[in-house]
């Protein structure tokens, strides 16, 4: 389908989703989020694609939501538009999602970045939740994903003060996996995506699910789920291929079966 506020490029075995509202610093309109959601649903089904890069381009990731659009809305209006509910599909994406962040990732932009599985930050990247300065709080997972990633105190600082942090600080807090020169951010993210695309798709999916499960369930339950997935993978062709290739000292070719 055609998109108006994002670009989707399939470069099998990876795909790149680019937020594309440069004039408004990729402000996250409900439509834009809806399109990202839709694109990821489609890419999840697309067998050619094994990993996805999510980026805002060379200059900015996304500088928050459309304040002009929200300023005079009522609670009931906000609820009925379900602005934040549109994000559910992004979190449900089952393949590796690599965020390539240059410039501002603020408010909803930061929350979108935090929904990625790995984050490559350009040295120009800034992460922050400035909602508090507008008399509101993050509404798309910021108060939940920050503490789960960076811990309570860094999360409180971000969410209560509204002050943005640098790429280097994000790396220190474990939010960014890597800091690279901004002109290389998307390229590095694509390389990591391609590297992941060579791995067994089912194993990637189970691994992602298991790690995300760690945030939602008690350890004992997480361990049970992990073990079940571990055993399950022995029923796949890719497990046989992977182990045989290892023993035969050749490169495995995985098929997702």
């Amino acid at each position: 389908m055609g998109y108006e506020q994002i670009l989707v490029a399939v470069e099998a075995p990876i795909a790149i989703v680019t937020l594309n509202r440069p004039k408004v610093l990729n402000a996250l309109s409900p439509e834009l989020i809806g399109e990202v959601n839709q694109a990821l649903r489609e890419l999840d089904m697309d067998e050619r694609v094994r990993a996805v890069v999510l980026t805002g381009g060379a200059k900015v990731f996304a500088a928050g939501a459309d304040i002009g659009d929200m300023a005079e809305r009522t609670a009931v209006e906000q609820l009925s538009r379900d602005q934040t509910g549109r994000w559910a599909g992004i979190a449900a994406f089952t393949k590796p999602l690599i965020g390539a962040v240059n410039g501002y990732a603020l408010g909803g932009g930061c929350e979108l970045a935090l929904m990625c599985d790995m984050i490559i930050a350009g040295d120009s990247a800034r992460f922050g939740q400035p909602e508090i300065n507008l008399g509101i709080i993050p509404g798309a997972g910021g108060t939940q994903r920050w503490p789960r990633t960076a811990g309570k105190y860094a999360a409180m600082e971000a969410v209560l003060t509204g002050t943005a942090i640098t790429a280097a600080r994000a790396k220190e807090l474990g939010i960014a996996n890597k800091v690279v020169p901004a002109e290389m951010t998307i390229e590095v993210a694509k390389r990591i995506a391609r590297q992941l695309a060579e791995k067994a798709p089912l194993a990637l999916r189970m691994a992602k699910e298991a790690v995300l499960n760690a945030f939602d369930s008690p350890l004992a339950e997480g361990l049970v789920a992990e073990r079940k997935s571990f055993y399950f993978l022995f029923s796949t062709e890719d497990q046989k291929e992977g182990m045989r290739a290892f023993l035969e000292k050749r490169k495995a070719v995985f098929k997702g079966r």
């Binding site: 040295d123 890597k178 800091v179 690279v180 020169p181 002109e183 590095v188």
Partner: protein
């Protein structure tokens, strides 16, 4: 700058060189509230102005910069630095962005040390990328002499540039480090007689104007990244920076020129 307003800072852009000159010779270029405002604006403008490829920071008269205007710290109505909290706020809100900008702007910044650099003045000199000084110049961490602690980033810069021994001696004694000694310790790049300073700085600045600007900006980015990362992280960051640089026309031109020179020999 508007007429009627004192010019504590004079800016002159010529042939790619942006000259920023502290201009309070009667106060040895001490930095007061108005100076901070004008200097901050000049540094910001130098970073933004695409016509400026190299920045030179210097002072009018005998001094480079004698530091913060202490009279403003104690007198009413001076510069709004009357409480201890004001002292901290001025450092955080005014000096910090300025000094950070000097160290991170994507172009070379040269300190032409026409004379002494004391207190925050030394912080400015040390925040520049390269220093050229007259023999009469010196660096002075004057803070202890009025019962203050080092500021303006020298607690970070000096130990990295000259080691903790030199830094502590300067912080504890409040004694000047002459340009000659500073040169020996690697804190000052070159020492030249006062009547040759301008020509020496101009020659270096003009040379840097002709150097590949993106490559120089990349060098500065690499150094600033490396100063806050491990050896392995620095190697990796360099590798990506080099890859980006290898795409640039500067590299293509540079290689062509190199090969042309070689074939001439």
């Amino acid at each position: 700058m508007a007429t009627g307003v004192e010019e504590h800072v004079i800016v002159h852009v010529h042939d790619g060189v942006g000259l920023i000159r502290l201009n309070r010779p009667e106060r040895m270029n001490a930095i007061g509230a108005l100076t901070r405002k004008q200097l901050g604006e000049a540094i910001k403008q130098a970073e933004r102005d695409d016509a400026v490829r190299v920045v030179v920071l210097t002072g009018t008269g005998r001094a480079f910069c004698s530091g913060a205007d202490v009279t403003e710290m104690v007198t009413e109505g001076g510069g709004g630095m009357r409480t201890p909290e004001d002292v901290g706020n001025v450092l955080r809100n005014e000096y910090m962005p300025m000094l950070t900008r000097l160290r991170t702007m994507p172009k070379p910044v040269i300190a032409a040390m026409n004379g002494p650099a004391a207190g925050i003045g030394a912080s400015y000199a040390l925040a520049c990328d390269i220093r050229i000084a007259t023999p009469e110049a010196y660096l002075l961490e004057a803070f202890v002499n009025i019962g203050l602690a080092p500021d303006g980033g020298v607690s970070w810069l000096l130990p990295r540039m000259a080691g903790t021994g030199v830094a502590y001696e300067m912080f504890f004694t409040g004694q000047p480090l002459s340009a000659i000694d500073a040169h020996r310790l690697g804190l000052i790049n070159r020492v030249v007689p006062a009547d040759q300073l301008e020509a020496e700085v101009r020659e270096l600045a003009n040379h840097l104007v002709t150097q590949p600007r993106q490559a120089m900006a990349a060098a500065k980015r690499a150094v600033n990244h490396a100063l806050e990362s491990s050896y392995e992280e620095a190697l990796e960051f360099e590798s990506y920076l080099q890859e980006a640089q290898a795409w640039s026309p500067e590299f293509a031109e540079g290689v062509q020129k190199f090969l042309a020179r070689r074939s001439q020999k």
